[in-house]
Subunit: 355 residues, 2 copies
């Protein structure tokens, strides 16, 4: 991943809500004497039987003296009040759909296997048989590149290397995300640091990653990880990579971490690696794993998406740049209605409009 940011607006405001919940539950409980119980079938016998129950049950519907309906809730949490962020509120303990997809589905596994198969074919079938490897092109955009005018150097005498991101590219953070699913929305940097330090055995390799990385090394190509994981927890990251079958790595040579004071952008580190190696392929789950230009602040959500397909960048996907699926977090999870769905493509159910 390029940077591990909280998805904007997912944090739940916790203060004051318990009082609000108590108030909801309290309506039928405290006002028991003043309400008339109704049921959908309206049978008197059933009604009187249930009125004797001391404790109303979740789902019971009451009518108050002033004619309003009230339903007993079993809620233990509420969405935050207006004014507080309200985006997603998946009940804690339920696995949100994007996590079911990435960590639980065969579909996401197949996407990863497909990406690694494409990477392997590119390296093994296309590059290996080139007689003059010095004419092979690096896939790192040069400093004077733009997204509409990407430029690349040839390899010269530098040894070949493949550069991967770590999180959700070669390594699945199963433990951290299981905790996040149980906890509900919201991201905490401190928790991520504790995860790096204590979760080394709660990870798994992305499907296809370990086998492909071993095969790349077998072909004599160096594998380098360029990650925003912190330099201060290096030993734990090395441990996690080894336990997932993705090692061995050498810190500072084949494992490049982020200094805590350094920016999250990866271009500078890529260019530094490119001084020593010819980077012939890159793998990542975020566009920032390929170029920081995708994260320019003035690039709108639709423009960012368009650059991947409508520029000279397009032919790189599956041919030097290899992307892994990650709908769970990251810089791609942005945009309101009109940015995600072009205005001229929005639709409203005609049956609803008639009402």
């Amino acid at each position: 991943m390029t940077s591990r940011l909280a998805i904007a607006g997912l944090a739940l405001a916790a203060t004051g809500l318990s009082g609000c919940v108590a108030a909801v539950a309290a309506v039928p409980l405290m006002a028991g004497a003043q309400v008339v119980k109704t049921t959908q079938d309206g049978k008197a016998r059933k009604q009187s039987k249930r009125e004797k129950q001391a404790v109303p049950r979740a789902g019971d519907v009451y009518v108050t003296e002033d004619g309003k309906k009230a339903q007993v809730t079993g809620l233990t949490a509420l969405p935050p009040p207006s004014g507080a962020p309200t985006a997603a509120a998946v009940a804690p303990g339920k696995v949100p759909p994007e996590m079911q997809f990435l960590y639980g589905s065969g579909e996401a596994s197949a996407l990863s296997l497909q990406a690694y198969a494409a990477l392997w074919r590119y390296l093994h079938d296309e590059l290996r048989f080139r007689r003059d490897k010095s004419q092979i092109s690096s896939v790192v955009m040069t400093r004077d590149s733009t997204l509409t005018s990407p430029k690349f150097d040839t390899c010269g005498k530098r040894p070949l290397a493949v550069v991967f991101d770590v999180d959700e590219t070669v390594l699945l953070n199963l433990g951290f995300e299981s905790d996040a699913a149980r906890r509900g929305p919201g991201y905490d940097q401190g928790r991520w640091t504790r995860w790096e330090e204590t979760g080394a055995d709660k990870v798994d390799a992305v499907p296809g990653a370990a086998e492909t990385i071993a095969a790349i090394r077998g072909d004599g190509i160096t594998v380098i990880y360029n990650t925003n994981r912190s330099a201060s927890t290096a030993a734990f990251t090395i441990d996690a990579l080894n336990k997932a079958g993705l090692g061995p790595v050498t810190l500072g040579d084949t494992l490049i971490l982020r200094d805590d004071s350094a920016p999250s952008g990866k271009d500078e580190r890529r260019w530094k690696i490119a001084e020593r190696y010819c980077i012939v392929a890159m793998g990542g789950d975020q566009l920032g794993d390929f170029s920081d230009l995708f994260n320019a602040k003035d690039l709108s959500t639709p423009a960012r998406r368009n650059t991947t397909g409508n520029t000279l960048i397009a032919p790189l996907w599956g041919r030097g740049w290899f992307i892994l699926p990650n709908p769970v977090y990251g810089s791609g999870l942005k945009g309101g209605m009109d940015e995600v769905f072009p205005k001229d493509k929005q639709w409203a159910d005609p049956a609803e409009e008639k009402k």
Copy 2:
């Protein structure tokens, strides 16, 4: 897509909730005289000033006579009471992360471009130069196959074809999903039918699909769509495909729809196509677009995921079978905590455990 089912548990129970909401809002409104207003800074002047306000504002915190705290809410909807399904409750009008990813991100666009590039390379670079095309293998599993023992026929004299699913494989249902995002969770078959009938101009091609499909046809290979869209709305689906640049199609030959009485499985239709054509590649966003065996009822979520990588199926991804990303709906969005996150990989933040 293989079958367009509501994601289990997303439907909101609407009845009775308006009363519940009224009760929440009513606490501070009706009990205005009996509560003492508190503020975090505790300045008396500010407090008295705000007490004069006739209408409490969202976020205001009150303390009731019995010492409980109550916060004014601006909520207009609540999650359903316990007992009703509670999975996801994204505020309507906010775009949920899985939709931001699929329809709005450059990452998903890149995944699609990568899949179509792999498909093109497979057809154009690998199959086109085969001298004896009768020895090319079909990629449709034969009737006597199992997931652990997949079997394939050779092509013989049949002409080559590529079979695609339609929805979220070649066509993005931008209009329908914009409506779904505005509306919040819940799927309605009637709404989908109205969408098929009225949304033909509110779609777009999946990135890479239109160009690749045109190129496949240019290579003399037939393109066939095998979809669960209804036969009764055929004209609208043809219209949508044409408008997205994915046509032309011939109903019953290169566009195979589902009869309303027929099951959602696609194997029978695949085998029928395979009588006339040699299917050398398939594209889909659901495992059921490749074989119905993935949807066997006795296949657990983890087992289903494992079959994609740990069987003889694995080499097919990117080499005959091409999968497109879709974390928004479908048969991959299943599983509770222990199915999505293996028990031995679950983790809990040690800082929280100490509390």
